[in-house]
Symmetry: C2
Subunit: 432 residues, 2 copies
Amino acid sequence: MNKNNSLKIGIAGLGNVGQGVFRILTEQKELLTKRCGRQVEIVAVSARDKSKDRGLNLSGVKWYDNPVELAGDANVDCVVEVIGGDSGPAAETVRTALKNGKHVVTANKALIAKHGVELAKLAEKKNLALQFEGSVAGGIPIIKAIKESLVGNNINKIVAILNGTCNFILTKMEEEKRGFAEVLKEAQQLGYAESDPSFDVDGIDAAHKLVILSALGFGIKPDFGATFAEGITKITLQDISYAGLLGYKIKLLAIAEKNSRGEIEQRVHTCAIDAKTDIAQINGVLGAVKISTDSLGAALFTGAGAGMFPTASSVVADIADIAKNNISKPFGVSHKDLIAGKFSKIENHESEYYLRFFVKDVDGVLSSIASILSNNGIGFEKIHQELLPSKEAALVMITHNVKEEKIKKSLGEISKQNYIVSEPLFVRVEEI
Amino acid sequence: MNKNNSLKIGIAGLGNVGQGVFRILTEQKELLTKRCGRQVEIVAVSARDKSKDRGLNLSGVKWYDNPVELAGDANVDCVVEVIGGDSGPAAETVRTALKNGKHVVTANKALIAKHGVELAKLAEKKNLALQFEGSVAGGIPIIKAIKESLVGNNINKIVAILNGTCNFILTKMEEEKRGFAEVLKEAQQLGYAESDPSFDVDGIDAAHKLVILSALGFGIKPDFGATFAEGITKITLQDISYAGLLGYKIKLLAIAEKNSRGEIEQRVHTCAIDAKTDIAQINGVLGAVKISTDSLGAALFTGAGAGMFPTASSVVADIADIAKNNISKPFGVSHKDLIAGKFSKIENHESEYYLRFFVKDVDGVLSSIASILSNNGIGFEKIHQELLPSKEAALVMITHNVKEEKIKKSLGEISKQNYIVSEPLFVRVEEI
């Protein structure tokens, strides 16, 4: 099929990441040839608008308006899918490429999180690569680390900051004492958040990425439906400040772990974490993944968790593996060996909790709340109360270790009391 | 040669790392078979003392007193060299294995730093693997990250904490306000330092590791002779405390970077670094490697930089790559493409400097020191002076950016002054 020994690439999608991949493959051609032992050559691209000036020299490169047609081009060895989305043209492009015997590199987290097993099956059938380093944590090479470097390890826990938008917003809220809505607006102006920010701020984006890490780490089928995802929208500036007073930072974490019952918890939510820990120092749009295993202990990987060139760097690494004929199973083991995870419900989660109540400044509130918590078997170890300018009061506490269902039951009872001014908030405390 | 499809391993050396490798390969056999797609089987081992009880089940495993004989065993596909040392049996074992067509995995930093090119040539001639992930930063998968994940990146700078012993000592000195000699003793009792600690505390161990990272990162021949290495023995408890007052921590860092003249600085020495930076938070026996590149930006990898199971975890990852037939060039590119580095002399290094003088408490000392520095074109931006219980004084300053030769010239002049009580100290300030 090839006139020479080069690996022939078709890039489907010329958005940010696609442009980054195009530029690295073009500008680092000599370096890559040396490192791969052969040339990597872009022979085709596809995007919606051919007339748009992207600053790329497309001469000699075949143009497709339709990425699915690119995926059928007999001259292409490897399709790079950087369109995005778990269905539509992205999914069809990847399926078509694999069915036509072409390797696939993708940065599409939603696609892998939702259709990973089906696609792995297609790829394995023909010994094709289906690589997706760029789908999780941007430029941080965490997928290769789990699949290859930790190959002799049993993973116990993965804790990660996987959404730069949320981490940027929470960092700015803390550092500049500004509210969620205002900082979100700035993030949108800076291009860190979409005009519809819900995928980011509701934790869906992080959940897609977590599902992939969890599948790789625990050898389970990616199961997006089994993931608990909750975003950052309930966190107020006051919560960040109160948590700080008690020694905690609030972060949106993506966590996959085997609990004491051998079940897997797969959850994305805001966490109160000890402000002195390593993960608490990860600020702004940075990403981080911390992995705990039986042999290695804990290792932390941090860096640019998103962005044009960081993500393109990961995509190019996947392409280079294919050029070097380092073709591995998409999930590290055969799709047949992936087992269905036994997942734990969030109600069974057990940890300390940060609780926050806005209450009327009347006598007996603390004793009422304490007694309801106590009746539900909940003790607390830290407490902070302050009078607000509104003449109402804020009451904040850190509980002892307790099951989540008890927290929810207690908060249900407390929220019915007539001294309660607004919906109480709880944030899970996570030990890092 | 093989009766079945398994990868047959011979382990040369049953010290800490060798035992760890043996145990992971044995205890994680099922996991590894799934992940490698074939069995990995230990068929031979070699160590000095067969009678020693290591808690390993050696039945069915061939014993060799002489590792070089193991390296010639026709039944072995892959020799794991975990003896150590840049010559003697370790070197002979690796050479023999490669000459006999066997893959080699080693954790031997001195061997690779000093004989890497020669051994890579031997390996490449027969398309054999020569893998050495375990030689640098223990369990942190930094070699794979540079060779494979950063394949499309040009690296600008590598900053690393590569010696756990030194980092442990400096951390303890700071946290517990104890002197070097006392903490070194504790490190020896804990097994973190050898009875002859010079390889660690003089920076040689870190320099071996740095040479390997530098070669991989910059595509140059490993050149131990071109590495500046200076240890931690001159750092006093007072220096750690004074640096702290000025906002710095003192760390032994291993640094490889391209300077503004395009030359490579390859240096291991104590650095004063901003106490708020990520590297400054790496305490105790932890290791860390921070890499700055054109596409990815900066990425930081931290974890167990040494130890039985972390290092074994890296060795097993190398073995798994071979089992999966992922055979790459030892240094990422052919040994023929490795160029001779153009190195910069330490005298040409340019940075801010921490200077410390113990002086007699007499009038005119500060003005004399300031005038000598000024005559050499050195200004300073921070200064701290305090009277000591001995009635002498400590004078500490952070200079502006300046060339090292000027610092040395100035300190030469200052040390001759009659108010100087002991040898002045300078520590390079490193921007992280």
